[in-house]
Assembly symmetry: C2
Homo-oligomer: 252 residues x 2
């Protein structure tokens, strides 16, 4: 299943390219497995490859002094890894960890840079993706300050579901807590609340999502806002955007 043929057309970001350009780009890529828990890169690492996930979920985590790692965003087949290279920096400022196994296309940094320089269409597309990240990050900075843990947890679960395309997630409360930058007991309490509302059920690292709509009402509006930003920014170039997110209601 992880052949390059199967890979074509399965990263939503690359789907924003026209067929010939996409084929040319993917021709320079190789398909690699993403194994659960794998650390793809660490703070300070030189960027050797750029990743475009096809299946699986990767968390992008920042560590600041005196504090544990904090998840900045989740990356699945709607995005790419190591956007620093788009900004001319070949060093990663973060750690990237595989949170759901799968596989990805990856391209060598030099090839990537060449392609971006030679193809204005590719350059435009990926710059827009950087903008989406930049915007989501501002949203997250505010979200972290203002919103209750239960809302943030609901948002995280929804994000994870979007990117893993499954109603069953495999992730422990301990890991969720680390991503959210809170104690495990906090997640237990918030997850218990979501469970009592019958939005999810939880058992030893398995979350089953029963009521996606309910989760949306429980989550903060940041979730919807981020998706709207993605849609509005990449919508004109990413033609198959509807596949990225099952967006039932995008509102203004």
């Amino acid at each position: 299943m992880s052949t390059k043929q199967a890979a074509i057309g399965s990263n939503q970001l690359l789907n924003g390219l026209n067929d010939s350009l996409r084929a040319q780009f993917i021709d320079l890529c190789e398909v690699v497995d993403l194994t659960l828990g794998e650390v793809i890169c660490n703070l300070g690492d030189t960027i050797h490859y750029i990743y475009f996930p096809i299946e699986g979920v990767i968390s992008w985590e920042k560590q600041i002094a005196d504090s544990p790692y904090l998840m900045i965003t989740l990356i699945g087949n709607e995005g790419m890894l190591c956007i620093s290279l788009m900004l001319g920096i070949n060093i990663t400022p973060c750690r990237a960890v595989v949170q759901k196994a799968g596989f990805a296309l990856r391209i060598a940094a030099a090839d990537f840079t060449n392609q971006v320089e030679q193809n204005p269409e590719l350059n435009t597309l990926l710059k827009r993706y950087v903008f989406v990240n930049y915007n989501q990050l501002m949203q997250t900075a505010a979200c972290n300050l203002f919103h209750l843990l239960e809302s943030r947890l609901a948002k995280l679960i929804l994000m994870f579901q979007d990117r893993s395309q499954s109603d069953e997630l495999h992730i422990t409360q301990e890991l969720l807590a680390q991503m959210l930058g809170v104690r495990r007991v906090g997640v237990t309490k918030a997850a218990g609340s979501l469970q009592r509302k019958n939005f999810i059920s939880y058992s030893r690292g398995n979350i089953i999502i029963h009521d996606r709509q309910g989760l949306k009402t429980a989550s903060c509006l940041c979730y919807q806002a981020d998706k709207k930003t993605y849609a509005r920014t990449l919508g004109s170039t990413v033609s198959t955007l509807k596949n990225v997110f099952d967006d039932d209601e995008i509102f203004t």
Copy 2:
């Protein structure tokens, strides 16, 4: 004093360009006043101009649903305004408000885009600046979650001082509270604590900084980390970096 001649060499970011390129760029700019409280742009505005502050301080503020505006960063003569255009987006995602009067170079969006396309050196420099912003934003997202108000206030005061190049700041607690996303009484308490430690004194919208070193110990390490990121990322291109920040101690 606000003639274009005086302006040359007074934005630290543009100082990263070689002399002829900088002269050529500034030739396309005009000098405009920044008046206190002026809203330079609002969420959703089309970007007509890019600003490079020479004197004065601008706050970059995001508003998310159900919450007041939150300051994302402060911009002075170490940076530029409206970096979205570097990412191919000509709409501002935020509000920008002048928090200290001064003046700035500004260049029309079309001229800016042309210059960036034609000058790889300029393009590289400003992409790196975007990276610095991106990195600081991740830091802020974590800072907002983990760090105490007093530390965040100390950091903000230091940032303001760096960008206003004065030991006396004119800003009310109400405004600081809004920037930090907390209530005014919270700032009163935190500022009172800093005052009792003799780091600052405070009186009706005037902060006088007595002990910069003390403020640094009171602030979170995010302050130092952000400056280090700036120095390391732009240091190789910005030759006069030492002028940007009076960095007594940059450590690893």
